[in-house]
Each structure stands twice: as C-alpha cells, then as structure tokens.
C-alpha cells in the first residue's frame, strides 16, 4: 500500500482551480448565501476551464480527467461556496448518467453542451413518496403511440429551476413479481409540461437552487430512454452512490478546510490577555480536533475517488466518506464558532455559513442513517 499523495499534475490542477475560485467565487460567496441565488452566469466560464466536464473524455468536450480531479475541483470551490459546489456537483450527476449509461447518439447530443457550460445538468430522483425509500417513488412513464408520457413531481431537487438537461427516473411498469420497474429518461429542460415547482428556502447550501420539478404529460421519444427499460434504479443508485456521495464528501472536505483556515486566521489576529488567542490550550485543542477530522475526511474521500478511478467497486467507501465528511463539517464548524466567541455568530465571518452548509449537506445524497445502513450491510456481509 502506497502512502497517500497527490501527483504533481493534480497539485497544478488544484492551483489553477484555486485561482478561479479566488477571482470569481470567494468575493461573492457571502452575497450568494445572503440572497439565496445560484450563479448560473458562471457556467460558461467554468465550462471553458474544464470544471463542468472534469471526468468526461475529451472527444465529447470534457477535460478527460477522473473523479479524483473532480473532487479537487469541488473541494476548492466549496472552501468558499459549498452552495455553488452542490450546484456544480449536481450538474455532474446529470452529466455522469448520460456519460456512463447513454448511447453514442445521446452522448454526442448532450455531453458537449454540458461540458462547455452552455447547458446546466440535473438529476431528478427524489419524491415526496420516495427519498430514503427509493423505490417508493410514484412518477410514471407510459408508452403511448410509440412515445413515452412522463408524469410526476420530484422534490428536494438541486438545480430545479436552472437545469437544461434533466435526467428523470419514473416507474414504467411492474415486473412478474409485482415489483416496480424504474426507467431513466433524459428530458430537455424546455420540453412542454416540464417545469420547476416551488422553490425551497434552505438554511444552508444557499448558492444553489433547490425545489420541485414537475412533469405534466411530458412527451419524449424512445431515443431519450437511458440504456434500457428497467435500468433506472441501477442508473440512479450508482450515480448517486459514486458521483453524488463523492461530491458531497468533497464539498465537506472544502468546508472543513475553510473551518481550519478561518480558525487559525482569527486566533492569530485576536488578542486576549495580551497574546494571540491560539496561545491558549483550549483554542489549540479545538484547532487540533478540527485538523484531525479534516485529515480523516480528506483521506476517506480521496481513497474512494481513487478506487473509482481505478475501476474498483466503491459504493461502501463512498458511503463511509460521505457520512464522515458531512457530519464532521458540522462538528468542526461549531467548534470553530466556539473558538471565535461572540464573533462566531456574526455574519461578517463565514463560519456561520459553513455550519449551515454542513447541516444542509447531511441529508443531500442520502441521510447519514442511509449511509450507516449501507456500511452495516457491507460490514456484516464481510465486504
């Protein structure tokens, strides 16, 4: 087993993304959070820089890199705006579903625009009737005159109001045992009957827009079906497990790093009893505990992305990483706030936003309890 280290290229990539973040994200993160807006206008620039299609092969307009590089991108962005982080990571979900499960025509039709940032991607799976209870969803797809008519309402969907390419799961029938058959379709955002619904006012991840997406007799041709009838559950599950949870994990690694940097900065500048705050052991322990959690989250996340890039099964590793990173980001944000005393609750500082973004990250991509169920199942089965 080799010890963990990024390659020279990955360090250069990180530096390039950080330059973009310092110029375009850091100065505006607070404003996006306060006004609850998603900076859709950044998509073309992010496309140009390769951030929209990090793991898409160059032949389709992507940067031709892997999921480790994608995690680096999300981490760097989320150090300042986890809201933009989840918006971009959701874009990646729609992109990944088409890349890994689409046929050549579908890939050629959608991937170039998703990679260039001309179009925003989305993945609509969760419903009032089925979130954790994944198969409990009720949206339907009916074959009529050789076309599919889709109906339903999705909720808690990130990019609900901005997605131009929306991958939906619907129940298209039942199998011989009476179990629901789920199929995935690519919907063009401006298709008739496909509209966003209510917008949620979230307490965190506010640089992204989350809400309902409705299909009211949306008609799509059979060429919009992803892979084949009944593949929807596998497509959705794998994408959420290996691209969604990976994304949330990396986003929270970014938040964790933000917590440490802000804590160190503040404790250097603030003078108490005639000395910088971090001369006090109580503060030192807070910073150290944050550091330990950050290192653990980072290692778990990049270990899992490394496995995915190597083509190894990694659903459990992502469940572990996502569970740990998201929960740790909340603990560390609170710890950082504690170390700042009264200043911790003042909105001049980003730490309150870090806490809220961490809290909102926990139920994104499956609750912590779902991650624990997955981990338990694998562990008990000896895997």
């Amino acid at each position: 087993m080799q010890f963990f280290q990024f390659t020279e290229e990955q360090e250069m990539l990180r530096k390039a993304v950080r330059e973009f973040v310092d110029a375009e994200v850091a100065p505006k993160a607070k404003e996006w959070d306060e006004n609850d807006v998603c900076p859709v206008e950044l998509w073309p620039l992010m496309g140009e820089l390769g951030l929209c299609g990090v793991f898409v092969p160059e032949e389709y307009g992507g940067a031709g890199l892997g999921h480790t590089e994608r995690a680096i991108v999300l981490e760097e962005i989320s150090r300042h705006s986890a809201g933009l982080g989840i918006a971009l990571m959701t874009h990646h979900l729609g992109t990944a579903a088409i890349l890994y499960y689409g046929n050549e025509e579908q890939k050629k039709k959608y991937l170039p625009d998703l990679c260039s940032g001309k179009k925003v991607g989305g993945l609509s799976v969760t419903e009032p009737g089925g979130g954790s209870d994944f198969m409990g969803q009720k949206s339907t797809g009916e074959l009529k005159d050789a076309k599919w008519v889709l109906n339903g309402r999705k909720c808690f969907i990130t990019n609900s109001h901005i997605a131009d390419v929306d991958v939906w799961t619907v129940i298209t029938g039942q199998d011989e045992k009476g179990r629901p058959v789920m199929t995935a379709f690519i919907i063009d955002g401006d298709a008739e009957g496909h509209t966003p619904g209510r917008k949620e006012h979230k307490l965190g991840l506010r640089g992204s827009v989350t809400g309902d997406v409705i299909c009211n007799n949306v008609v799509v041709g059979p060429e919009q079906m992803l892979q084949k009838l009944g593949a929807g559950a596998k497509i959705a599950m794998t994408t959420i497990q290996e691209v969604g949870r990976a994304g949330m994990s990396a986003i929270c690694v970014g938040i964790l790093r933000g917590c440490i940097e802000e804590a160190v900065k503040f404790s250097n500048e603030r003078i108490l009893y005639g000395k910088p705050l971090n001369k006090l052991q109580a503060i030192q322990f807070m910073i150290a505990e944050n550091r330990v959690e950050y290192e653990a989250a980072k290692l778990l996340t990049y270990r899992a992305t490394g496995m995915k890039d190597a083509g190894l099964p990694c659903a459990t590793e992502f469940a572990i990483a996502k569970y740990y990173s998201t929960e740790a980001s909340v603990r560390c944000a609170k710890r950082t706030m504690d170390s700042m005393g009264g200043y911790g609750i003042v909105n001049e500082y980003p730490v309150g936003r870090f806490l809220r973004d961490g809290l909102a990250s926990i139920p994104s991509g499956g609750t912590s309890q779902v991650q624990l169920l997955i981990t338990a199942g694998a562990t008990i089965a000896g895997k």
């Binding site: 290229e9 250069m12 390039a16 973009f20 620039l45 390769g50 890199l65 590089e69 991108v73």
Partner: protein, 279 residues
C-alpha cells in the same frame, strides 16, 4: 506564417506575503521562508497580450533567467497557453543587476529566435526597478515602449501602440521587431483551464546553461553588474501612537481637537498654522 512571440517572465515571492519578509540579523540576507513563489503578476498581462496576438498560426515562447526551480513557473505559463518554454539557469548568472540580467536574456532570445515581438511586464513585484524591458530592447537593438495599454496590428510589420504616462496617453507607430512592456491596465489575464494544465507537461521546456550561450563571462552575474549591493535593512517607520477610545461621539470630539492642534480650522475648513490662529 504567424507571429513568433517571446514573453519574458520572472518567478517572484508572492507579493501578498511581503509583510512577513524579515532580514537575518547575522547573515544580513533577506529571509523569505514560507513564502511561495508565483509568476510575477505583471508578467501575466504580457503573456495574455502575447496569447491574444498569436492568433491561430503564431507561437508564444516564454523565457526566464532564474534558479532551476523556475521550471514550475514556466509550466504554469505553458498551462496558461504558451507553446514552449526556455529556462536560462547557471550559477554564473546569479547576483545579476538589470544590466547583466538583460544582457543574458538577450543572448537566450537571440539563440531561440528570431522573434517578431517580445512582451514583458512593466516591473517585477520584488525588485520593481522597471529597467529590464528597456535594457533588453537595447541589447536586441530593437525599438521598445514601456507601459503599453493597447496594441493594434496596422500592417504586416507595423503596430499602433498606446502608452500611458502618469496623466497622459501617447500613441506611437512601431515597426517589428519590437519589445513592448504591457501595462497592468492593458488586459485581464485569462484563468488556466484543467485542459491547459494537462497539455503543459507535453510542451517543450528547454534548459540552457552558461556553455549553451554565446556570452562574455565578464558581463554575467554579480561580476558583470555595474551596480553593487551594499547593506540591507528594514525601514524605520514607527511612531508612538496614542489610542483614542470611547463611543462614536467621544471619539469624534477628541479627533476634532487633534485636527485643530494640527492646524486645521474646523469651523471654516481652512488650514492655518499649528496651534490655531490664521496666518
């Protein structure tokens, strides 16, 4: 045939951290530990100008005279979009002032050329002498302009360039080959894409040392520099300050008193002799 363009760059300690720089009291040298090295910010404007002028059939070569670890900075310039890089590095070049530096750079450029244009930044963040662009042009025997804000190709061999002085702009027509030192106001340097980073490692990076260049040893490094450095020290700037505190109103009242003592007539907004009273 497109334009063959060269850009001179310099790796410098990150200016954001200059306040951390100290002087070693024993060795009497500058201590810049913990401060990372970056591509000189002004040089990015030069590289951006070069990339914009290159078009579809030109080529941009970046060159620097620096220690061996400058390879990293050259790769950054390649990642930004330059096509090739040259590193001039040798102990013999060390300690050079602008005279010897521009002499050495010119030798490297003549060997790598011929170029149609050389772009530079206006000054480096660390030394900030502003002298290398003009001096390099002199060694090349080319015309040059310092602090160019716009560059327009008006003919196959001519450019129209606007430069800015403190409060005046001036337009010139300059014939190729020429050297232009690009102003901070001239453009917004592009960000580096992930694709650019991956392409950078495959682009050619050539390293030349003393034996590779046609130069006179007496003109290199510290030996070849007409200016010689003496002592270095930190500037004395301290003042014994007094703290004014209180609520907003109390502070304002105390400030008004201090301004009066300094010679401002608060009632009228005029300036008079210290201590009050009009002169």
């Amino acid at each position: 045939m497109g334009l063959s363009i060269a850009v001179c760059i310099k790796p410098v300690p990150d200016p954001k951290h200059y306040d951390k720089i100290k002087i070693d009291p024993v060795k009497k040298t500058v201590v810049r530990e913990g401060i990372s090295t970056i591509l000189n910010p002004c040089d990015k404007h030069a590289l951006e100008a070069a990339l914009q002028l290159r078009g579809s059939d030109g080529a941009v070569t970046v060159i620097t005279m620096a220690p061996p670890n400058a390879e990293e900075t050259l790769r950054e310039a390649l990642a930004m979009g330059a096509d090739a890089a040259i590193l001039l590095t040798d102990r013999a070049f060390a300690g050079a002032d602008t005279w010897a530096t521009s002499y050495t750079l010119a030798s490297g450029l003549k060997k790598a050329g011929p170029f149609d244009i050389i772009f530079t930044g206006t000054e480096s963040a660390d030394g900030a002498t502003t002298q290398v662009p003009a001096q390099l042009a002199e060694w090349m025997d080319w015309p040059h302009l310092w602090n160019a804000v716009t560059v327009e190709q008006t003919g196959e061999q001519t450019l129209k360039v606007r430069t800015k002085a403190e409060n005046e702009w001036s337009d010139y027509q300059v014939t190729l080959p020429c050297l232009l030192a690009m102003s901070r106001e001239s453009n917004k340097p592009r960000l580096t894409s992930l694709m650019g980073v991956m392409k950078a490692k495959k682009k050619p990076l050539t390293v030349w040392c003393r034996p590779d260049l046609d130069v006179d040893d007496a003109a290199l490094g510290m030996k070849g520099s007409p200016t010689q450095p003496g002592a270095i020290f930190e500037p004395e700037m301290g003042r014994k300050g007094i703290l004014i505190s209180g609520d907003v109103d109390e502070i304002a009242a105390q400030l008004v008193e201090k301004l009066r003592t300094a010679g401002l007539a608060i009632e009228t907004g005029d300036v008079c002799a210290p201590g009050g009273g009009n002169v």
